[in-house]
Symmetry: D2
Subunit: 384 residues, 4 copies
């Protein structure tokens, strides 16, 4: 199939953050073009955004429902192949459901839904649709994260004993949602964000990262939520202890009120034979330590890395790649699956987060919310 | 002008490196689309490359000359707006000259030409053409490099005393040009690369970076070239001492045989009031030190930065940007100039390297080559 | 008083670790000389150690009891001024009690005793004795830790919200206590180490460090202990969530089975106005971040530091100090108190950990052990 | 010989820097005691210093000549075993000569003398005396520097191609010698410091470090001296290109006017098989890279290190050692040689810088001064 894929976007109007990120990621590799959008519930914002993106005004829609309907009615060689959903959380499920039912593939931001129940329902819709559904847990798109997973899978760390995952940020140290900052406003609003602010927005990335790298499943957890900033409803800081199936232990803490922290997602994994450490703010490096040997710093782009890391690398060593490339790697895998689907093949295996990962993420969130609500009592992981 | 700009590419076929980089950079922001190319002197390679890039086969040409002629003959709303030149060095001048004369704007890789004489001639062609000519000294596209320049310009470092610029790499430690590695083959061939390998390929970036940040002009220099690997003709290592106009001193060393180094361009600037340090492999940070105060680590994406840095930033703090974004910043400024030109305006000021920077770079190279050829004697900077 | 102080040592024979550290620290500043010792329960080991230390054989004793008795009988200008206790934990209380009652000042390694009850009893002995008692929580001796405390005290961090303290090590990943490694053997033996291995040996340092810097008192805690290595009785890994009085939250985790970690004590403190971070393995630096400003790296030896840090600095900036100097700072303060005491003055204030800190440390340990024993239930801090 | 060695000190009175460092280093290991001194040409300063150091006033002398004479007249079991010379440079040779002729061993600070001629004369005195003479090029005392040398010696770097050594400082950016700062005053005075300030004070350490690690000998050099601060006589910045015997190349630059730099001595060595990098401000680490393998970070105190590094290590891994310990390692080796000499044995081999290293250092200085004086012309290394 010698053509670029076409996509539309729901959300991502002016002043939005993640929509622009998705567009950068989608366009990077010259494989996809944006042709339609319902960028905002504010029609004016949506039109302006469309103009800035050089879209045909006829394909900038007033609502996602209209978009799904009218795009589905276009000829096959014009209409979008898939939709990117970059709205606040509460719209993920209804928008995804609408487009899946209209016959479109879906790439959706995380967390997948507002509740676990909603997540399971969406899973059913996806299964019935036969369409591709990808969730943008973008941090697993980094090549050195894939290398980390490969080190664990290949047994080079031995049995995993302990996992420490952190995700401190500081941008909500002031109550900026009261000043009209849109990103803060919806994330701190339970109706739009769900039952969690900090853990749902970022802690869920840390959990997903740990699971992606180690394959460990949480058995029970103890979650301490704190709302430090007066007047805020949802937590802006969360500290968790984890017990994994099989006996490993975990510490996961995340924060939005940690002064001076930017986007400091990082993880350390300790096994019986070795350990690894990776930090999102220095993503081209992976520290790897074998027992009784000097620590090694593995760097993206080198011949000594695994195929898993090499596959997702665009530039030679020392020419740093970063956030957009990792995000684009999720897109590349998702559209590979979409191309296979369009060609009537299964293809794969593909390396992107699926609706099952989304259900898992919501189960994690609900378990943590439940624990936090009971004074941080140890709580069994929710059934998924 | 509500449309994407259209461009063609000369060079950048399969197994090439920098062509793919230019394409990633050009496509990143959704402002430009690739519509034509003469990707290789090998017609098969060129066609295959065009197919992979979803190009109309009619616009994949057998030679750059044919491309210039036929594109110029296309209707204004179809033909390319500019050409990207990503060939080995020896073709830069003839290709640029051809397209400028055919009425196209040019974005060209560095070093600009094979010789200073050729560079001056090209400067004349550019001046007469009235077209935009941009040279991709991409490292000046990094936001924190722009912040560095702003710190110097605003006097926060005081009078500059000393500059240390380094660019060690290790990829030519083995004689890989003998194994058919294309990147190594043309860079080590005087007919294709010019009179210098190491300094021309990377040292020139270090010099350009220092000049961009400090504004200092070299008065004389002492250049020690070494060819460490037997059988190689051009130097694979160069160490220079610099005397700047006004009394500042400089050390510049670069290498392609420094084992374990990847692409470690870095610079330190010391003034009477403060100093700064920046390293390309960790581009989101800039170390800034004021006399008698603790060192500060300035990081991309923060509110405390200058407008110069903010303008070239896409992502929030902590969401790292890297090589491609910096490269794309050169493109963004160049196409802003091209859009202005197309609209009949001067516009600007624009922040991208021009043909004058290209002439300067070739003067630097010729001066260094001359010094090296005279047993590293101190040599006055060439007239430009 | 123009003379060096004289001291004796209990413990610290051949193959011991911490005894040698105390000796290096005590001798560093030329203020103290070692003149007596009961270095081991093995008389041969004790004599050999004494010889290596150039001691008069008459003052190398067969037991600490004999030593206390015979030193007390010496003339005032010969006998020791104080005793350093560097034995396994279970001997701290009896040895300290013996020497205090014999009229000697005491410098004692941590944790102070085997139990909280024993700690309180020792506190009574100290109070009645009128002698100086110092506990070597050596990490608070680092100048940059003192700077950190000063930043908090002076309000530059605002109200403290969150504290993350870590102390991972990896040296007990193999069951080396079974191979006769003496350090491992007693630390993993409840009779000699007490009810905790990992938390007692190192976690207690992390807790003490947090309290020293922030002044925060724990209100309740949840402690998860794990014994990862089969056949070991005490925990070799501990993860704690902390709730401080006043609403701040804490995460404290420590480990002896974290492959590749050496002695990685580190702490981060986040307040409403700023944050700080310090790591023991790079002790000359303190990261300090003020809200909305670039992070600063404060470095030992500079004029911009507080008097608190300057007082405990021997070398100019850039000439690194480390573990021994920090340890020696505890000694310097303790012997300043001893000199004052000998001169019949109160003196001070002195900056060293006291018997009250020892009681606090044992209360922390007992609370954590109690929580861990109840499946990591939240547990109120023990009365002290 | 079961006793501590006794030493005296010339220089090192109040407000001196390096004298205090020597005393810390000498006392650290409990092997040496200070018993005599001529600390200052100011008798009052000398007496006060002696009191602070608990010395017998009878052994605090008014001049070094008096000291040499009177100590030599003391009984063998009282008089000093060796002298430490910690004066400004111009006194090194006369003091050393006096004590060597009076029968004492000598530990002397660097640079060894004022001139090469003086250095050669001192070498003759040492040879005739049969005494131990140690020069405190203290940076070679670091265990990880010894590991670096071992890596080179054992061939793990292959043939050495390039050496980059740096030693930037910033403390002389202001003209503090005019304010009475004693350290600055004598170092910038040609009569007391010799023909060089920056290169003599610190650049000579960088050169010595490179030679110690690589064994390479300089064949010729090009030295650019600059005096940036008005009114200063000697250079405060020096940049050198080096050509080693056998074809390797070097860059060595040092500075005392580099704002924000503290004591940033560092070195990188690149060979055909591997490379290494070490930085004095983080002395417990050594970066080691084997071609086509991930970089390793070797850390002091680990079992995987060579015996050369292990021998000079006091503390376990992760318990950082630093400047004083490295300095003390020079003392330990020198006094081992002195003890052997006292016992009538040759002993060894010992690992400390000798009078031959001192002559070499002065030859390096004179060659550089000569080059600098001829407008940085390439100059052959002086005969030694």
């Amino acid at each position: 199939m010698k053509r670029k894929l076409r996509y539309g976007m729901v959300g991502g109007g002016q002043n939005a953050f993640i929509g622009a990120v998705h567009r950068l990621a989608a366009s990077l590799d010259g494989q996809i073009e944006l042709v339609a959008g319902a960028f905002s519930s504010d029609a004016k914002n949506s039109q302006t955004t469309g103009e800035q993106l050089f879209l045909n005004p006829a394909r900038v829609y007033g609502s996602y429902a209209e978009m799904a309907e009218r795009e589905a009615a276009l000829p096959a060689d014009e209409r979008i192949d898939f939709i990117s959903i970059v709205t606040p959380n509460f719209l993920h499920a209804p928008v995804a459901t609408t487009f899946l039912k209209a016959g479109f593939h879906v790439i959706c931001d995380k967390p997948m839904t507002l509740t676990l129940k909603e997540a399971k329902a969406l899973r059913e819709v996806v299964r019935k649709s036969g369409k591709v559904f990808a969730l943008t847990h973008n941090y697993t798109g980094y090549p050195m994260v894939k290398e980390a997973r490969e080190l664990v899978r290949s047994g080079q760390l031995g049995k995993i004993l302990k996992v420490v995952a952190e995700y401190p940020q500081g941008w909500l140290l002031d109550k900026i949602e009261a000043t009209g900052q849109k990103q803060a406003a919806w994330r701190s609003d339970p109706k739009k964000a769900g039952a969690s602010c900090c853990l749902g927005d970022i802690g869920t990335h840390a959990e997903n990262l740990g699971r992606y790298i180690t394959g460990l499943e949480i058995d029970e957890l103890c979650a301490e939520f704190t709302t430090f900033i007066p007047g805020r409803v949802l937590e802006d800081d969360a500290n968790l202890l984890l017990r994994y199936q099989g006996g490993a232990k975990g510490v996961l803490h995340c924060s939005q009120i940690s002064c001076g922290e930017e986007n400091n997602l990082n993880i350390r994994v300790y096994g019986t034979k070795g350990s690894l450490a990776w930090s999102q703010e220095h993503p081209n490096e992976l520290k790897f330590c074998v027992k009784n040997e000097p620590a090694r710093t593995l760097r993206r782009g080198n011949g000594y890395l695994s195929d898993a890391a090499k596959k997702f690398t665009r530039l030679p060593a020392g020419h740093p790649e970063a956030f957009i490339e990792a995000f684009a790697n999720i897109y590349l895998e998702a559209i590979a699956a979409i191309r296979a689907n369009l060609a009537g093949k299964r293809g794969g295996p593909f390396d992107f987060p699926t609706v099952d990962d989304g259900v898992h993420g919501m189960a994690f969130l609900e378990t943590a919310v439940k624990s936090a609500a009971s004074n941080a009592r140890w709580t069994k992981f929710a059934k998924i």
